[in-house]
């Protein structure tokens, strides 16, 4: 038999045949290792877990058309292809236009978006009622709902009024003989006044219709009916000068000016005809933010109304750390789009995660120290319990190093057993914590087993230092005393 085998035989015999005391040491190392393994698992899994949770604080990246470019759904989906599917939580396209509610002489910023994606990128949006599902269903922000008194289930008629600004070229290009022009301008209370005019052979106004239904009926509203007022326009060439070519209708100066402005900017394009659609309000949107002043409809509904496939911006929610987000932003930028991080969200996410990890780290260190104290105390008790045995071993010729080796061996063996036990229990512990706190299960890290065992052995060894010192100091002469 070799010395090493005898050493192992003594160490294992000491542990196996003196069970009760060693069980306490084993238990404390085991518990320490369990918490260590659990905490390490949580430490590395927390960002993964929390990042998904944090995505509920809203989009962390914006995708916009590059300088001088336009964004449409095709470009957006092409860009999104560049992101790994599991990182992308959601991508909400947005197109903002002003739509008029003619019956109320109001106009609202209306966002065309994708309601399914909105619920992923902005999970904190709350809807009284429900999100639209069918065509021609809309959401109305709370602020608007309160001002105009619409409720879930109300109908709302919205009008798309293409403005001259948005068409190419110059209005004067369209003033050809026989042309039909349509235009609009802001009248009283910023509400829209619409005009349509037909030109004669000399490109002078032959016919004029005014839609001033958004204006006060007794004042501005009369511009549409007042024969004298209307007559002034017939036979005149555009553009017109207020006061020179035409006079304002008394009591309706603002509306009259809007009519002239609408005529001067009127365009011939057939697509620029105003279009009105009736929508059903399925819910009131409550966000606590500026979205409460918007109307939301599906991208498809807005396209049907305006006839254009254009997006202003897309809000992306991506599960990644700051560094990775920067990399994604770089990858997405190009092909007519540019991406940029929402700094406020990313920064606070990083800060919160950092604090959480620091907390877990601190708890781990405290637990390890407690474990060390516990193991050390137990080993101390073991040494005093075995004073006679240690004295005997010394009397039999054990050197100080042999004594050290034997106690260290026992400690490390305990560390090995406790560590293996702890690695397994720790994973279970982390799993339980994760499922209960983060509602997600945890990945098993194979490296955790050897690392936990190694750390446990080191801790056990460190805990044995003081007891060993005491064991070495024991005088072999005690065995001759009849104690």
């Amino acid at each position: 038999m070799t010395k090493r085998r005898m050493f192992l035989r003594m160490v294992t015999a000491s542990l196996l045949r003196r069970r009760s005391r060693m069980l306490i040491a084993l238990l404390s190392i085991g518990i320490g290792a369990t918490i260590l393994a659990g905490m390490v698992t949580i430490y590395y899994d927390v960002p993964r877990q929390m990042r998904a949770q944090m995505r509920s604080y809203g989009a962390n990246m914006l995708l916009m058309p590059a300088e001088g470019e336009t964004l449409d759904s095709e470009r957006l989906s092409a860009a999104l292809q560049k992101l790994p599917a599991d990182a992308l939580v959601g991508a909400s396209p947005y197109r903002y236009v002003r739509l008029d509610m003619t019956s109320r002489q109001q106009s609202f910023t209306t966002a065309g978006t994708d309601f399914a994606e909105i619920q992923k990128t902005s999970p904190y949006f709350s809807v009284e009622g429900r999100y639209p599902e069918a065509p021609r269903e809309i959401l109305v922000g709370r602020e608007i709902a309160e001002t105009i008194g619409v409720k879930e289930g109300s109908d709302m008629e919205l009008t798309w009024q293409p403005t001259a600004r948005e068409s190419d070229g110059n209005p004067s290009d369209d003033r050809k003989p026989g042309a039909r022009l349509a235009g609009s301008a802001k009248g009283f209370g910023d509400a829209m006044v619409y005009v349509t005019a037909t030109l004669d052979n000399e490109a002078k106004i032959a016919e004029l219709t005014i839609d001033a239904s958004t204006q006060t009926p007794e004042y501005g509203g009369r511009t549409a009916e007042d024969a004298l007022f209307l007559k002034q326009f017939i036979g005149k060439a555009l553009p017109l000068e207020m006061g020179d070519d035409v006079d304002a209708l008394s009591g309706a100066t603002v509306t009259s000016t809007a009519v002239v402005e609408a005529l001067n900017t009127a365009r011939a394009d057939a697509a620029v005809q105003p279009k009105t659609t009736r929508y059903m309000v399925t819910g009131i949107l409550v966000t606590g933010g500026e979205e409460e002043g918007y109307v939301f409809m599906s991208t498809e509904d807005l396209q049907a109304l305006t006839g254009e496939d254009a997006l202003d911006v897309a809000e992306l929610s991506i599960s990644a750390d700051e560094e990775q987000l920067n990399a994604y932003a770089e990858a997405l930028t190009g092909d007519g789009v540019q991406a940029r991080l929402v700094k406020r969200v990313t920064k606070s996410e990083t800060a919160v995660l950092g604090k959480l990890q620091a907390l877990v780290f601190l708890v781990t260190v405290v637990v390890l120290i407690l474990t060390m104290i516990c193991v050390s105390t137990t080993m101390m008790a073991v040494v005093s319990e075995r004073r006679r045995e240690i004295g005997l071993r010394k009397a039999l010729g054990a050197s100080d190093n042999s004594i050290r080796g034997e106690f260290l061996g026992e400690g490390m063996f305990l560390g090995l057993l406790g560590g293996a036990l702890g690695a397994v229990l720790g994973f279970v512990f982390a799993q339980v914590v994760s499922v209960n706190v983060f509602h997600a299960s945890i990945m098993f890290r194979p490296l955790l087993l050897p690392v936990t065992v190694l750390v446990s052995m080191l801790i056990a060894a460190a805990s044995c230092l003081m007891p060993i010192k005491r064991a070495v100091a024991i005088d072999p002469a005690i065995v001759l005393k009849g104690e």
Binding site: M1, M6, M10, S399
Partner: protein, 224 residues
């Protein structure tokens, strides 16, 4: 030729002189008994001879080497290589079997050898009990295991402090017979005892009183 020589050694604890100017000469192969009342300094002397303690004054020559001023590490080496110890309380490692207890002594000395350890147990008549733990052995059996453990490394000197103090007549005789065998093989024996019968088995008896050698009796009836 002297294996052990104590030259005017004293061991002083404060006011108390546990050993007071003691001189002793033990030849190689000699069997010496030490007697004396309780507190006369017998164990103190054994500790010094056994390299577990140092005298306050005087020289201890073991095999011609003065061990009284050696550092603890060297004392451990000498104890391991030259001395076999047997104690009154038959100390054993409680969680090791009889044969493992014998092997512990081999382990610190050189190489554990289970076969040899079993033979040593056979010599003390305990071959059959080799796999028993101390708690499963009687006091006499435990002391016999300790004798086996003391002789396993073939020490030049065996020190026994009241080896039969807790034994019955039968076990005492077994142990004494083992001592006789060891003596015949040339091992030097120093045995502390209160028991005149045990002392009479030796060649010579030293009597200590108040830390001094009171007298020395040569055993005329000693049978080789």
């Amino acid at each position: 030729m002297a294996l052990l020589e104590l030259k005017n050694i004293s061991k002083i604890y404060g006011e108390l002189k546990a050993l007071d100017n003691v001189s002793l000469h033990v030849d190689k192969g000699e069997w010496v008994a030490i007697m004396g009342p309780s507190g006369s300094g017998k164990s103190t002397m054994m500790n010094i001879i056994g390299c577990m303690d140092k005298p306050t004054k005087g020289e201890v020559l073991l095999d011609g080497e003065d061990i009284s001023k050696l550092p603890g590490k060297r004392l451990t080496d000498i104890r391991r290589d030259k001395i076999g110890l047997i104690f009154q309380q038959f100390h054993m490692v409680t969680y090791l079997t009889a044969v493992e207890n014998v092997m512990v002594s081999q382990y610190y000395h050189s190489m554990p050898d289970e076969q040899e350890a079993l033979e040593a147990l056979g010599r003390v008549g305990l071959r059959e009990r080799a796999k028993h733990l101390p708690s499963q052995l009687s006091g006499g059996e435990q002391q016999r295991v300790c004798v086996a453990r003391a002789l396993i490394n073939h020490p030049e000197l065996i020190l026994a402090d009241e080896p039969t103090g807790n034994l019955d007549e039968a076990n005492e005789n077994i142990v004494l017979d083992l001592f006789r065998q060891l003596h015949r093989e040339g091992t030097t024996l120093i045995v502390v005892t209160h028991d005149p019968e045990v002392a009479e088995a030796a060649q010579r008896t030293i009597v200590l009183e108040h830390g001094r050698v009171a007298r020395e009796v040569v055993n005329e009836n000693f049978v080789e």
